[in-house]
Symmetry: C2
Subunit: 143 residues, 2 copies
DNA sequence: TTCAATTTAATTGAACTCAATCTATTATAA
DNA sequence: TTATAATAGATTGAGTTCAATTAAATTGAA
């Protein structure tokens, strides 16, 4: 017990959060590879599967990602034919992004993935719920 | 409520984990910038502040990072004069890494950081403890 | 002993992430 | 109206991150 204990890896909260996030994303990769998506592309498509269309700005807000990350992700999804990008006519600063039929079709493949990942990462429902709530609380605090 | 609900961002556990980890690392950055470290370099130095020396292999195991990540991180820390890299004489496959006096000296600067970050991300002690335990449990499950 | 398997790092290439900066567009205030 | 500020995206550069591959050293089995 000394004044440097706060610098031990075992006493950190950020480190297991960071390690856990990377490990869990890795669990998705073999399943995502089958539908030719990266994790970042997958969560982006989630927004479109739910909403159909969305401005790049709104997308970045939802995903906590800035334009430096979103721009290449959106370009690559468009290249795959899953979305279409176009400037808003009402406000040309806005990039309006819309899902294509091909993008919609991918949803029926993607829907299997959450269950497959959950199967290899089973937490007690209680514990999963607590984790979910704490993470959202933390996201709120840090916003 | 339909069969696609599992694809909504709000029903994911991985997404808030991933977003939270990135947001929290960002909170460290202004403080880490003052001692010219990135977050990855910082957690690497934590191991050396605690242990003094460590093989690259052991380091990767502790940090959940592979050689593709560790190699450039260790090279950059060596370039800053914080550590020294050398092959083990007993087994030349092993890269033995050791902290320098300059690296040790940095510890007295770094020790302020956890408290500064904790101050902007205050969770109830109970909740922090629960989060800590669940994350370590998850890391175990996924190992 | 000897050769095949294993282990450890390094390398490569693709993708992500972010801070900082730049450009174009829109909003606002004098 | 006209200058100024604010906003949305794109770009750039540094640093991760990982999968896959390679090379060198060591281990272990025949």
């Amino acid at each position: 017990m000394d004044e440097f204990d706060c610098l031990k890896l075992d006493n950190q909260l950020c480190f297991p959060l960071y390690a856990c996030a990377r490990s869990l994303v890795k669990k998705y990769n073999p399943y995502l590879a089958k539908i030719d998506l990266t994790y970042t592309q997958y969560i982006t498509m989630m927004v479109f599967w739910e909403k159909g269309k969305c401005s790049a700005k709104e997308l970045g807000d939802k995903l906590y990602l800035d334009s430096g990350t979103m721009t290449p992700v959106l370009k690559s999804l468009e290249k795959k034919g899953l979305i279409k990008r176009a400037r808003s006519e009402a406000d040309e600063r806005l990039l309006m992004v819309e899902i294509t039929a091909k993008g919609q079709a991918l949803k029926t493949e993607a829907v299997k993935i959450p269950g497959q990942v959950a199967a290899c990462v089973a937490l007690e429902p209680e514990e999963a719920k607590g984790l979910y709530q704490t993470l959202h609380k933390l996201l709120d605090i840090m916003r």
